[in-house]
Symmetry: C2
């Protein structure tokens, strides 16, 4: 679901230290594994699985699950399909019509492209729509709201433009899709249109499909607009699996379903509206890339009829689950997943990642049949229903929550994959583990390791000024050290594992040199597009299999899942520094605003072309006592160093001691969970990593504190300083206890 290319996260890099590298036997195993990975396999599976629409509830979605199940069994896995019945609305009718200044029927299915054979195979496809919008039938004037994010509503308010009773027209980008109708309805809008502006995923960065991979003028991005920052999964069964007997909310009770009708449209359709809008000009970053002047609107010059009627029945999702039982620790699970449902054909999203997972499963099966047995149990999952709301993974994780909390040591996720550079995000004690694995896999284009190519690209991009890596990433690339992992927010199937259950998680993918932005969630996300513009020959599909496969093998067979706790402590320490700066900057900005308002400077500065009134007074951000957090982070850093030192020499310890230590640390990430969860969203219990309520996918670290400051809930900030400090102290105490075990065997 999430775009790999929007993860500006870290690229993996080989470490100069070789600690915890696989043994000679393990290396031979990895060579055998690699020998089974085949791009030709992946191409064949991709073409087959993306040959027909495969959204939730479609025949081909079920066929793909059955196809995978058969393959898993054929490869020697203990596999089954697990079904959940979830609320998944599908459109019965969708209407977008320009009413004023003239009547034009807009919207509807995307047209076929001659070069792309599947693009005409849309008989079984749903029309462009967004899932979990609120059905309705409205006619109203249109207001352009740029990205439709909070800063855009500030800009509208400063110009005296209200969206109350209006239909907002938002462009994709700048924040997660689902926030656009949510913020629109909170501001009183009665409808929402979301369009793909060419500045963001078409001719500004690529040739237009099928000449290049850029979004064509009639291309539309579908997607989910469920309020997933509140909780993902089936809206009717928060916190529990959508099993036959589950207690279900009514649709009206479900907090994650929006209230206003919303549809996605193309920039061809949006141009009809933008060209006729009145009101003040939108300039700079508030306009897109169409060849005309953008106006905010505010008059009746453009009126639109928008209507959506949906079938709100339950639909089945089919998760394919395969297991290879661990020989030494059958109750320690290494889980690896990727979803299989798409919006239409889903060739890039998600099947490019799914076929990499299938390659791994085939190779692991071959090793298994040749006699190898993993020490730990390996679980491979092909999720359904990720697109509408992480349905398959969330319902599975909720259903098996107790068992997972007991057994799951690691969850590794992938999603769309493309050519380019490896990006990786996740639990930071795994940073070195990721860097080691990716340092051992060759980049398909250049033959050097993915790590080395990543480092070269970071440094070349920094020199040429074409990249936006942060200084810590550039410094890491320069020094040859491990590149930092990004933090996980949401947008793919790791969410329930990391943020609801507290299982250490990773999300990986290649990208940055593909053009899949232009086909994202459209009819044109096809085998033709992927093999021409995203990963021709699926060579990066094979590279992904090798990176992830290595991590699975190493995590399954090593004495323990490799972790370096000082990497986690260092990351948390940087996040705390960020938050302190955030609070100080916000306070300074509040003071400045008060000064400017008092002096009347906004009135004096108002331009005749675009008069702007003073931003509203929101008070002064108070000083919030961060000392408990500072103490906890200090404690964490010291405890992590001690634990890492101890683990570095653990091989000299008696096996029973080692075992006790491993057990005590195996699920340490669960200590980051607070059963009360985050303010207003108890499902999200991880106090270090969460998706932002106003970013949707983007991560907010130390979210209880950070978002409380950003959103000016200062009482919450104080409360969550304490709660967050407590989980970090617990984590530090656990590390210290483990280190103590080494001294008193």
């Amino acid at each position: 679901m999430i775009k790999a290319s929007v993860c500006l996260a870290a690229l993996a890099l080989a470490s100069t230290t070789a600690a915890a590298q696989p043994s000679g036997t393990a290396q031979a195993l990895e060579r055998s594994f690699d020998a089974q990975i085949s791009s030709a396999d992946q191409l064949a599976w991709l073409q087959q699985m993306s040959s027909a629409p495969n959204h939730v509830g479609s025949p081909h979605d079920k066929a793909n699950a059955d196809f995978e199940l058969a393959l898993f069994k054929q490869w020697g896995w203990d596999a089954h399909i697990e079904r959940f019945d979830v609320l998944y609305p599908t459109p019965i009718s969708t209407t977008v019509e320009l009413v004023t200044p003239q009547h034009i029927v807009l919207g509807g299915q995307e047209p076929a492209v001659a070069e792309d054979p599947t693009s005409s195979n849309t008989a079984g496809a749903l029309p462009p729509y967004v899932a979990y919008q609120g059905d309705g039938d409205v006619t109203a004037p249109v207001v352009y709201v740029n990205y439709g994010m909070p800063a855009d509503y500030d800009a509208l308010e400063q110009r005296g433009i209200s969206v109350k009773g209006k239909i907002v027209l938002a462009r994709y980008g700048g924040g997660w899709r689902g926030l656009k109708p949510k913020l629109a309805q909170e501001h009183g809008a009665i409808g929402c249109l979301i369009y793909s502006d060419p500045a963001d995923d078409s001719y500004a960065a690529a040739d237009v499909y099928p000449k290049g991979g850029g979004r064509p003028e009639a291309g539309v991005q579908r997607g989910s607009v469920a309020d997933m920052p509140t909780y993902p999964g089936d809206p009717l069964t928060p916190g529990v699996g959508a099993t036959p007997n589950a207690r279900r909310l009514t649709r009206a009770e479900a907090k994650t379903i929006l209230k206003i009708p919303t549809l996605p449209i193309s920039y061809r359709d949006a141009t009809r509206m933008i060209a006729a809008l009145g009101g003040p000009l939108a300039t700079g970053k508030q306009r897109g890339g169409l060849g005309l002047a953008y106006h905010w609107g505010g008059s009746d010059a453009v009126q639109v009829h928008l209507a959506v009627k949906s079938d709100w029945s339950l639909k089945p999702v089919y998760d394919v689950i395969g297991m290879l039982r661990g020989a030494a620790y059958p109750d320690q699970w290494i889980i690896r997943g990727n979803h299989h449902d798409g919006w239409v054909f889903g060739a890039s999203d998600p099947l490019s990642g799914q076929v990499a997972l299938m390659s791994e499963a085939k190779a692991l099966g071959a090793l298994y049949r040749s006699g190898w047995r993993p020490a730990r149990t390996i679980v491979y999952a092909s999720w359904d229903g990720e697109e509408p709301g992480l349905l398959g993974s969330t319902e599975w994780a909720e259903t098996h929550a107790a068992e997972l909390k007991q057994k799951a040591l690691l969850y590794i996720n992938t999603d769309s994959n493309g050519r380019g550079f490896l990006s990786a995000a996740g639990s930071h004690e795994l940073q070195h583990f990721v860097n080691q694995a990716s340092g051992d896999v060759a980049d398909p284009r250049t033959g050097v390791s993915s790590a080395q190519r990543g480092r070269a690209a970071i440094l070349a991009g920094a020199y040429l000024g074409t990249d936006r890596d942060t200084p810590d990433v550039i410094d890491a690339a320069k020094s040859g050290g491990d590149l930092p992992l990004g933090a996980l927010g949401s947008g793919s199937d790791y969410t329930a594992f990391l943020q609801h259950l507290g299982i250490a998680s990773l999300n990986l993918g290649f990208g940055g040199e593909d053009e899949s932005d232009g086909s994202y969630h459209s009819v044109y996300d096809s085998f033709y597009h992927v093999t021409h513009f995203d990963d021709p020959g699926l060579t990066y599909g094979a590279a992904l299999s090798k990176v992830v496969g290595r991590m699975v093998l190493r995590a399954a067979d090593a004495p323990r899942v490799p972790a370096r706790y000082s990497d986690f402590a260092g990351a948390v320490s940087r996040y705390l520094t960020d938050i302190k700066k955030l609070a100080a900057d916000q306070r300074e900005k509040d003071r400045t605003l008060a000064d400017l308002r008092r002096e009347g400077d906004f009135t004096l500065a108002a331009s005749p072309n675009d008069p702007i009134v003073a931003p509203a007074d929101r008070g002064i951000t108070p000083l919030v006592d961060m000392l408990p957090l500072e103490n906890a982070v200090d404690h964490l850093k010291r405890a992590a160093s001690a634990a890492d030192a101890m683990l570095g020499r653990e091989d000299g310890l008696p096996p029973a001691t080692q075992s006790r230590i491993n057990t005590s640390l195996a699920q340490i990430d669960q200590l980051l969970m607070d059963p009360a969860g985050l303010p207003g969203r108890p499902w999200f219990q991880n106090l270090v990593y969460a998706p932002g309520t106003l970013t949707g996918y983007g991560a907010k670290t130390l979210p209880g504190v950070r978002e409380a400051i950003e959103q000016r809930r200062f009482d919450d900030a104080r409360t969550y300083v304490g709660r967050t400090a407590k989980v970090l102290e617990d984590y530090a105490n656990r590390l210290e206890a483990a280190a103590a075990m080494a001294k008193t065997p």
Copy 2:
């Protein structure tokens, strides 16, 4: 000629100290002056003078000079017209035709706009062209070169695209117009087209004319492409006046005339080419705002026929010169100028500033007739021929060089004027003088002083993130101190005074809330455009008259032209800090490049979509000994403080001492001149302020050193450290000598 809106220079601000404020008598005089300033006068003159094309050599250009001469005489000035005969090419024929992929005739005169009455009055106008290009007739493939600046040629080279034998298509912006064909010919191109991209002056920032002021799709920017950074003025008479008996170069000998045919075109015409170009994509800041993918070209997909044939005869320019003789110091001149020639109707550029000058002249004349006599002589100049190359002012300054060096104390220039905020640039010892004058004039929209409104806009813009002021400007606005002056490069008539003769100079204008970018140098720079989108009612025209008139009155009547030398020393000190950082950063970047080339990182990073080879190795910037300059700046700062302290108490000195001090400081700016001039351009002798050879208009401060480092002429850098240190030491010594006079009267 220059756009006021591109001067991101300082806004004037009232100082909290009231030193050297005018006396009560002087204040009464200023009130009388203000009472004579009339927007209605300015509107009438503007409509009359912009009613027909008034380029050099046109009947209406001469008629405007005669009209002004008659008015000056009527107002009591001793006025005359001074004529020079200069090489000024005018097009006999211009041809732009698309040859491939299809034949389409492009170019030609801009179409009339029904709402704009003068836009159809183009019978006497020249077609769109650029002056001092090289005639020729070529047919060749087109290469898009973005802004056509050095970084763009680097980008082309990294993609393996040559412009040799090609016609380049450059968009306006990113650097001065004339550099585009100059750099094109240096890179082997045989023709050059320059177009106005809508990202830069049309719908990205304004509604399109006549709905708003933005450039319409068929609008074309004319202009000069003479190599003015080498020398401005008549190409045949560098350094001497173009008088009847002047020794003239042949056209072939004139270094400032370019060699390849060049024409400006509209974005309607450019779209025909860009839409069909092949080769790699241009993205990010390398593309403009048209609604399509930009490609660099490099194939024969687009071929163009470009031909220009000009009449290269001499043409007359008519400067109108008026004088009010000084009663006390007739041989001390305060000079104030603005040009009167335009490219077509020239309503904004230059007549909006010209009518402000005329208002001042009328008001000064009225004061004179009522009995007031300035202490110093006031010279008002209405220049001709500024547009093609600062012809009228340069030839006048060169003709009267000896007298001016003896008599001229100050030159105050204006050019186009619009609504908004006062920007001011010039000799930094005048910074406080400017801030005092503008602090005493009310902003027409708000009634507070221009200074206060400027400060409010800086602070509001910084808060909202919509402005790009530098930290020193923001700090000055916050603290309520004087706002810094910008540094003068070129682009208007101060050039010969400041940079060839060493006369302290200022350039002033209101702007920032007008839309004159969209009419700049086009048929649509009209009375209609100015009165609808740039300065409706010419209220800012009146404000400009009041600011400049005050400065003229105060400079003419004060005991000496007010100066604060520590402001100059502070500015020079900041420039030296800049240069040291520039050199260090460049050295660091060179080292990084060497590392990346050695490691092969550019090859590894190369993208399949846009392969980029390593930038060329240009060696490592050496450490250049800046100590002589650091010593000189330190000396200058100390001497300036001492001189300012002395001048602050000079009223207690005997008149003869005061007079000696004033005489010694009156022309101190001439000490900044080095008779050898700058490397390769001896006409430019000021070692503190110059236009950049690769910016054209934009200032380069301490240019002998700064440009030598930027352009990797390190021997020049060493030489000019010494030469620049010497002029600054001379300046400091003069200040010390003046301070010493106070002690030994």
